[in-house]
């Protein structure tokens, strides 16, 4: 089972990884966007970690909803409402739970993805975070349904996210800021797909010892 402490360490891990990759994400955004994705995500997750004490005794749903609301309130840009919606929707599906089965965790992530797609109206192939989130969720479902342990399943999800992220490179952007560049968006990796890959990478790393469940 995934405990609330696991969820918190996942968010802590992600906060750190975002900090380390701030310039990298910003650089990706400079090429086809407006050079703020790294700073945005960094600001948002710093705020999430600061707010963590407010959910000290709360359930996983509360933690994830706090995460989403904090992102919405501090990030701005496209990333704020999209990642905010991701975590708020994920949280709503696991309301009141103090631990999650792998399939419950998957369901939360899938609800998050659905929220992103509903808000952003993007589908795969448009060079957005959806291109990393979608294959990641799919791979996770496939692996779990095939009976693989969570840690292995998350490794596959992270790998699928990475492939999805890389697959954005040759894409022509049709959503988000990169779409304004038209043909010039081709050849660049999408910053949001990159931060989404990192989110799954962190999950895989954090839950590496969850082999048994």
């Amino acid at each position: 089972m995934i405990t609330r402490d696991d969820i918190i360490s996942w968010l802590q891990c992600y906060r750190q990884v975002v900090g380390e990759n701030k310039d990298y994400l910003t650089q990706l955004d400079a090429a086809i966007g407006d050079a703020d994705h790294g700073a945005n995500m960094d600001r948002g997750f710093a705020a999430v970690l600061e707010k963590m004490p407010t959910v000290a005794a709360k359930d996983i749903g509360a933690i994830l909803k706090m995460t989403g609301m904090t992102l919405v309130a501090t990030v701005g840009g496209a990333g704020g409402p999209l990642y905010g919606t991701f975590f708020m929707r994920a949280g709503a599906t696991v309301d009141g739970k103090m631990e999650l089965s792998p399939l419950e965790f998957l369901a939360a992530l899938e609800a998050g993805l659905a929220g992103v797609q509903q808000r952003g109206k993007a589908t795969t192939g448009e060079k957005t975070m959806v291109d990393a989130l979608t294959p990641a969720c799919q791979a996770l479902r496939r692996a779990l349904e095939a009976g693989q342990p969570l840690s292995a399943a998350l490794q596959q999800a992270a790998q699928a996210a990475e492939e999805g992220m890389k697959a954005t490179i040759p894409m022509l952007a049709t959503k988000g800021r990169a779409s304004y560049l038209g043909e010039r968006s081709i050849g660049h990796q999408d910053p949001g797909a990159t931060s989404s890959y990192l989110l799954f990478r962190c999950a895989a790393d954090c839950f590496a010892n969850k082999n048994k469940e």
Partner: protein, 333 residues
């Protein structure tokens, strides 16, 4: 990075403190969440108008808060859309019972954050109408993409709708007018240099000494194409013709014309561009009834310019001429 700033992370807050100190007669600045409201807000019975977007486009939007234009502006981090709580609080602060119009530039971030704010405000019983400005002809329009960016027409829409709200028109009427202005306005921009986002510390893109970017937005992003630097006359044609052909503006049309500096271009150059734009309009039989030449919607210190034409009927001209009293645009008051 050469900037008159203290710490990159303090740029927006310190700017807002400066605005508060400089214009106490015009505006109040609220911090946490950050927004700028008319000193006399809310005005009972008047439609409130709220806009907002990333910082770095000054005087837009904070410089347009005041009598005859915006009731509130919500500044995000530099080039980053503000968050919904800002627009939500600003909407409450300017609601005088006649509803609130959100003027939103078409960027995914702006649209999503304003959308969330509108949902929150509506949940509290405030009538909110949202109009999205998407006037940038450099971007191909399509139902299947994010669509066109909102650029120069935003300034004109804020002035014109502000005047209409001041007249006491209803939310529906002001929103319809805003959609009309958006439908009749077209813009295109270019850059001679990139700009430097404070927290990044270096230019967003490198542009060789002999190259320029055509079809840029207002976030320091590269444009649709890079090409060798041309003369002011050639550049003006490259911007004006796509604008004219897009609506299309026709012989006999009357327009409001704006030649806008991106922040680092001196006024002397903008007048050289205006001169050619006036020639081009004349050659097309288009009458420029009113004009703006200067820095109105900028990208930090970027050198470059944009051209906006807005087809104008008598109502629009009268609303344009109505008094406005803001830090960035002022006449008749």
């Amino acid at each position: 990075m050469k900037k008159l700033i203290n710490k990159p992370e303090d740029v927006v807050v310190e700017e807002l403190q400066g605005i508060a100190a400089a214009h106490p007669d015009l505006v109040r600045v609220h911090f946490n969440p950050n927004y700028i409201v008319r000193a006399d807000a809310p005005i009972q019975g008047k439609v409130g108008i709220v806009s907002g977007g990333g910082s770095g486009h000054e005087p837009m939007h904070g410089g347009y808060v005041g009598m005859g234009m915006l009731d509130a502006a919500c500044p995000g981090a530099v080039f980053t859309s503000p968050t919904p709580d800002q627009m939500f609080e600003a909407t409450k602060a300017v609601n005088g019972g006649a509803g609130v119009l959100h003027i939103v530039k078409n960027y995914t971030g702006d649209v999503l954050n304003f959308e969330m704010a509108a949902e929150l405000a509506q949940a509290e019983g405030i009538e909110v109408a949202s109009v999205i400005i998407d006037d940038d002809v450099a971007v191909q329009d399509s139902l299947y993409t994010a669509g066109r960016r909102g650029v120069g027409t935003t300034v004109l829409a804020e002035k014109i709708c502000g005047a209409a709200a001041e007249q006491g028109r209803s939310l529906q009427e002001v929103a319809d007018l805003c959609r009309k202005v958006n439908g009749w306005g077209r813009s295109m921009g270019m850059a001679l240099t990139s700009c430097t986002v404070p927290h990044v510390g270096k230019p967003t893109f490198d542009l060789p000494e002999d190259q320029m970017e055509i079809g840029i937005g207002i976030h320091g992003e590269p444009g649709r194409t890079r090409m060798p630097l041309k003369t002011a006359d050639e550049i003006t044609e490259m911007l004006a013709l796509p604008v004219i052909n897009d609506l299309p503006f026709k012989a006999g049309d009357t327009v409001i014309a704006m030649v806008n500096g991106m922040g680092g271009t001196p006024l002397i150059e903008l007048y050289i561009v205006y001169r050619k734009l006036a020639e081009i309009c004349k050659a097309h039989g288009i009458t420029i009834a009113r004009s703006l030449v200067g820095n109105y919607i900028t990208s930090l210190e970027m050198a470059g310019c944009s051209i906006t034409l807005l087809k104008a009927d008598d109502d629009i001209i009268k609303l344009w001429d109505a008094p406005v009293k803001t830090a960035g645009l002022r006449w008749g008051a």
